[in-house]
C-alpha cells in the first residue's frame, strides 16, 4: 500500500495495484459519517468496436454499455442487488457515460460489507434471454424520457452536428431499435472484454480506515481467478477534421428557442498531463469568453438575447474534444452573429490581464469547493485517472497557466470553420 500526502489540500491518498491488475484508491475523510465508493470500468458508449489481444475483432449494437450497466444488477437465483444494499443501509446506483461505466454506493454503516457487495455484484454477470428481454421495456422508457427532454436533445444535436464517424455522436442509451437486437451473448462478450480487473478502478472516500479497506479488497480479489488479459484495442474509424454539419435542428415544444453552439477541436490524440493542461487552459479561456461576469455575457443579457441559463462547458477525450455554449434565446441567428462580433473583437485584443487573474482565482476556488463533496472527488478522480492524469495535481497546473497560454488557446480553438450549431425549436 502506497501513501501520498497532498499538504496544500490537507488530503492523504492510499493506493495499491492488486495482482490481478485492479487499481484501488482510498481517501480517508476523518470525521465523516459517510463512505462513498465507486467501482468503474474504462468502458462507455463509444467502445462499440474493439479487439482484445489474441481474440476476434467485434462490433456491438449501440447502447450496449448502458444496457450492460442495467443488467449487472441482476443476480443468479433472482436475488436483488438493491435489496441487498438496502438491508445494509446503503444507497446504490450506476451510470454510463461516453467512456466509463460506474457502479456506486454510499453508506454510513456496514461499510466493508457494502463494499464487498459492490465488488461482488459487478464481478458476477448473470444474463438470461428472459432478463435481457425484460430490460428492453424499461430502457425503452428511459430512451423515451430523454426524447421529451429538450436540453438533452439540444446537447446531442450538437455532437451529431460535429461528429460524423466517431461514436461519441451515438446516444449513450442507443435507440429502441438498436437495443432490440442485443442478446445475452453480446452482453457476455462486452463484459469479458471490459470488466477484467485490470481495466477497472475502485475508489473509496469517507470515514474509512485505508489499511482495513485495502486488505478486504485484496482478500476478496485473491479468492477469484482471473486469467491475465491482453491489451484492449479500441477501434475508431478516422473522424474528419471538419464538422459533419453546420446546423442541426430538432423540433420539440419549447417556450423559447434553444441554441447550443461550439467548436470541434482540430488536434486529437492528447493524453495525460498534456491533455489535462489543455483542458484546464481551455476551460479558463471559455470562462473569460462566456462567463457570467464578462462583458459579452452582460451585453447579451441586457439585449435580451440570452437568459440566466446561458452556460458553457468543454468535453475532451483522446479522440474527440469540443466546447459547447448556449441556452434559451428569442433569436438564435441574432445571438450567433452578436457572439461572432464580440468574440472576434476579443481575438483581436486578447484578454485583459486582471480579468485573467480573477478567472484563475475563481477556478481554483471552484476546485477547492468541489473537494467538499465525496461524490465529486470519486467521480473526478476516476475520470482523470482513466485519462492518465491526477485530480490532486490540478492546483499547480492552474497556477502555472499564463495569460499568453489562454490567448493562444483562444486563437486555436475559436475557429469559425469548426463551428456547429444545434437548435431546438417548437414545431412549425
Amino acid at each position: 500500500m502506497e501513501r501520498i500526502q497532498y499538504d496544500n489540500l490537507q488530503e492523504t491518498l492510499y493506493y495499491e495495484v492488486l495482482d490481478n491488475g485492479l487499481h484501488v484508491y482510498v481517501l480517508p475523510k476523518p470525521g465523516f459519517q459517510k463512505t462513498y465508493a465507486t467501482f468503474a470500468t474504462k468502458y462507455g458508449s463509444v467502445d462499440n468496436h474493439f479487439q482484445v489481444q489474441n481474440e476476434e475483432e467485434v462490433k456491438v449494437p449501440d447502447g450496449i454499455a448502458h444496457f450492460l450497466e442495467h443488467k449487472m444488477f441482476e443476480e443468479p437465483e433472482g436475488g436483488d442487488v438493491f435489496a441487498k444494499f438496502a438491508s445494509k443501509g446503503a444507497s446504490a446506483n450506476a451510470f454510463t457515460s461516453f467512456d466509463q461505466t460506474v457502479y456506486l454506493f454510499s453508506a454510513t454503516e456496514h461499510v466493508l460489507d457494502n463494499l464487498e457487495t459492490l465488488i461482488d455484484f459487478v464481478q458476477t454477470p448473470y444474463f438470461t434471454d428472459q432478463n435481457v428481454d425484460k430490460e428492453k421495456g424499461i430502457i425503452g422508457q428511459e430512451i423515451n424520457m430523454y426524447k421529451d427532454n429538450p436540453d438533452w436533445r439540444l446537447y446531442f444535436g450538437l455532437i451529431e452536428a460535429m461528429y460524423k464517424v466517431h461514436p461519441v455522436h451515438i446516444d449513450i442509451a442507443g435507440t429502441v431499435e438498436s437495443i432490440g437486437t442485443i442478446t445475452k451473448e453480446d452482453l457476455y462478450t462486452c463484459y469479458n472484454a471490459f470488466y477484467h480487473p485490470s481495466n477497472m478502478l475502485l475508489f473509496v472516500v469517507g470515514g474509512v480506515d485505508a489499511e482495513q479497506t485495502i486488505k478486504m479488497v485484496r482478500e476478496n480479489q485473491a479468492r477469484k481467478t482471473y486469467e491475465p488479459q491482453g491489451a484492449i484495442q479500441r477501434i475508431f474509424d478516422q473522424e474528419p477534421q471538419e464538422v459533419a454539419e453546420q446546423r442541426r435542428v430538432n423540433r420539440l415544444a419549447v417556450s423559447l428557442p434553444k441554441c447550443l453552439f461550439g467548436f470541434k477541436e482540430k488536434e486529437t490524440g492528447l493524453a495525460g498531463e498534456d491533455q489535462l493542461r489543455r483542458d484546464l487552459t481551455t476551460k479558463l479561456m471559455l470562462d473569460l469568453l462566456y462567463g457570467s461576469s464578462t462583458e459579452l455575457y452582460q451585453k447579451l443579457y441586457d439585449e435580451d438575447l440570452i437568459t440566466d441559463n446561458f452556460s458553457h462547458e468543454y468535453s475532451s477525450a483522446p479522440q474527440y474534444a469540443f466546447s459547447a455554449a448556449g441556452g434559451d434565446t428569442r433569436d438564435p441567428d441574432q445571438l450567433l452573429s452578436r457572439i461572432r462580433e464580440e468574440v472576434d473583437r476579443l481575438k483581436e485584443s486578447g484578454f485583459d490581464a486582471s480579468d485573467f487573474e480573477r478567472a484563475k482565482k475563481k477556478k481554483m476556488g471552484g476546485y477547492l469547493r468541489m473537494l467538499n463533496s465525496p461524490e465529486n472527488i470519486a467521480h473526478e478522480f476516476t475520470r482523470y485517472q482513466f485519462r492518465g492524469s491526477n485530480l490532486f495535481t490540478v492546483l499547480p497546473v492552474y497556477e502555472s497557466i499564463l495569460l499568453e497560454d489562454v490567448n493562444r488557446r483562444l486563437q486555436e480553438h475559436v475557429d469559425w470553420d469548426q463551428l456547429s450549431v444545434s437548435l431546438v425549436l417548437s414545431p412549425e
Binding site: A86, S255, R358, G365
Partner: protein, 427 residues
C-alpha cells in the same frame, strides 16, 4: 442556546443566527432564509426581489462589478432559490466561500463574504428612491421566461400541474416564482415598497457552518447588515389539513412521446406530529427507494417504466407519486399503483421491507452530517415547523416504528388526484 444538532443560536439586528463551528469542511457555508406566508398578492413581488437584488448594490452598482467581486473572493459561490415550505414562500440565499487557510488571501474571506451578502440584501443600488428601473425590467422578463419554461421539462411540468389541480383552492397552488399575470404591473417603485415591507416582516434566519463562532457571526451581521428590524419574528404554523374527498382524475395533452403519470395524496401527518417518523416509513416503503413497492412492481415486475417513485412533503402533508409510461399503459399503471396503496393500507408489508427502509432512512439522516448545507436544511425544519426533532431522536423514532404504526399512518394518506399528461395524438 445550543440545540442537539450542535448549532449555537443567537440573534443580531432582528435576525436569528445559527452557527455550527467545525473544521470538517474546506469552506464556510452560509445560508440566509427569508420566509413569508404564501399569498396571491405578494407571491410575485417576493419572488422577483432576489432577482433584482443580484443585479447590483450601492458599492457595486453594475452587475459585472458585482460578479467580479465574487470572483475575487476565490469564486465564492453565491446563489438563491425561491421555493415553498408548507404554506410559506422561502427566499433562500446561499454563499459558499473558501476557508482562507487553503489560499493566500490578503483579506478575511468570511468577513468579505458577509460584507457582500449584507450589502446584496440590504443596500441595493437605487435610483430616485426605488430600484434601478432597467434591472427591474430585465429581471421581470427573466422571471416570466422561467415561468414559461416550466413546460419544457415535462416531468417537472406534470408534477407542478398535479399540485396545482390538487390544491386549486389553497395558497399552495401558487408557483413559488409567482404569477405571470402580475409581472407587468410591477414597477421599480412598487417593488421597492414591497421589498421594504418584506425586509421588515419576513422571518430571517442566518446559518453558518465552518471554522467560526456565534460571536464572530453576530459581529459580522451587526457590521454588514443594514436592517432596522424592530424584533425577531417567527413562523406561525398555518398548515391546515384538508379533508379527504373523492379522488379526481385530470387528463391533459401536450406534444410528448412518453406519458407522465402523477398522483397526489393528502396526509393528516406533518413534520410537527409525533407520528411523522411513521409517515416517513410509509413513503419509504411505498416508493422512496429502489427496493420500494413502486419501483419493484411498476418497473421491475411489469417493465412499464424507467422511474416510479414517491415523495413525501412533511411541511405540507402531501405525498406525490410519479412515473413515466407508455401512453396506452395508463390503466395498467394506475391499477398497479392503486394496488400498492391498498397493500400499504392493509398492512401488507414484509419485515424485510420494514428493516430495509429503516436502514435506508438511517443512512440518509446520518449522511446529512457530512454536508454543511444539509445540516443547515435539517435545522431549518425545526425553525419553520416549531418542532424540535434532533437527528438522533428521529433515528430512535424510526427504529421504534412497527408495521402497525405504518398501517396506521397509511390510513391518514388518501388519494386526492390522478394527473396524466399524454400526447396530442392520443384519444
Amino acid at each position: 442556546m445550543t440545540t442537539k444538532m450542535g448549532f449555537e443560536h443567537g440573534q443580531a439586528g432582528g435576525i436569528r443566527i445559527h452557527v455550527l463551528p467545525t473544521r470538517r469542511f474546506k469552506t464556510f457555508a452560509i445560508s440566509l432564509y427569508a420566509g413569508s406566508p404564501l399569498a396571491e398578492d405578494t407571491v410575485t413581488s417576493t419572488a422577483l426581489t432576489p432577482f433584482v437584488l443580484r443585479r447590483g448594490t450601492a458599492s457595486y452598482p453594475e452587475t459585472r462589478a458585482f460578479r467580479e467581486r465574487l470572483e475575487q473572493l476565490y469564486g465564492a459561490g453565491f446563489g438563491f432559490d425561491v421555493y415553498k415550505r408548507g404554506d410559506h414562500q422561502i427566499v433562500h440565499f446561499r454563499m459558499d466561500t473558501i476557508n482562507d487557510s487553503f489560499v493566500q488571501s490578503e483579506e478575511s474571506l468570511l468577513d468579505s463574504s458577509f460584507a457582500f451578502l449584507g450589502e446584496a440584501l440590504s443596500s441595493p443600488v437605487l435610483e430616485n428612491g426605488a430600484f434601478r428601473s432597467s434591472y427591474v425590467k430585465t429581471e421581470r422578463d427573466t422571471v416570466r421566461k422561467k415561468l414559461e419554461a416550466i413546460v419544457n421539462d415535462k416531468i417537472r411540468y406534470a408534477a407542478e400541474r398535479c399540485i396545482e389541480v390538487m390544491c386549486s383552492h389553497e395558497p399552495y397552488r401558487l408557483h413559488p416564482l409567482g404569477q405571470r399575470s402580475d409581472l407587468d404591473s410591477i414597477t421599480p417603485e412598487s417593488l421597492y415598497q414591497s421589498y421594504r415591507t418584506w425586509l421588515n416582516e419576513a422571518v430571517f434566519d442566518l446559518y453558518v457552518v465552518g471554522d467560526t463562532t456565534l460571536e464572530e457571526v453576530q459581529n459580522l451581521v451587526q457590521q454588514h447588515f443594514k436592517m432596522d428590524r424592530a424584533q425577531v419574528s417567527d413562523y406561525t404554523s398555518s398548515v391546515v389539513a384538508s379533508a379527504a374527498r373523492e379522488p379526481q382524475t385530470v387528463i391533459e395533452k401536450l406534444d410528448i412521446n412518453q406519458g407522465k403519470l402523477n398522483l397526489g395524496l393528502r396526509s393528516q401527518i406533518t413534520y410537527r406530529d409525533d407520528n411523522y417518523a411513521a409517515a416517513l416509513m410509509y413513503n419509504g416503503i411505498l416508493g422512496g427507494y429502489p427496493h420500494s413497492k413502486l419501483f419493484i412492481n411498476v418497473r421491475e415486475k411489469a417493465s412499464l417504466a424507467y422511474y416510479a417513485s414517491s415523495r413525501y412533503d412533511g411541511h405540507k402533508g402531501i405525498a406525490t407519486i410519479q412515473s413515466g409510461i407508455e401512453i396506452p399503459n395508463y390503466d395498467k399503471a394506475v391499477d398497479i399503483i392503486k394496488k400498492q396503496l391498498e397493500d400499504m393500507a392493509n398492512g401488507v408489508i414484509t419485515d424485510m421491507e420494514m428493516s430495509q427502509t429503516k436502514a435506508m432512512i438511517r443512512n440518509v439522516v446520518k449522511e446529512m452530517q457530512d454536508s454543511a448545507f444539509e445540516l443547515i436544511a435539517y435545522d431549518f425544519n425545526r425553525v419553520i415547523s416549531g418542532k424540535e426533532r434532533p437527528a438522533e431522536e428521529l433515528l430512535q423514532q424510526i427504529e421504534g416504528i412497527s408495521t402497525e404504526d405504518v398501517q396506521h399512518a397509511a390510513a391518514s394518506f388518501s388519494l386526492d388526484t390522478i394527473y396524466f399528461l399524454k400526447g396530442q395524438k392520443e384519444e
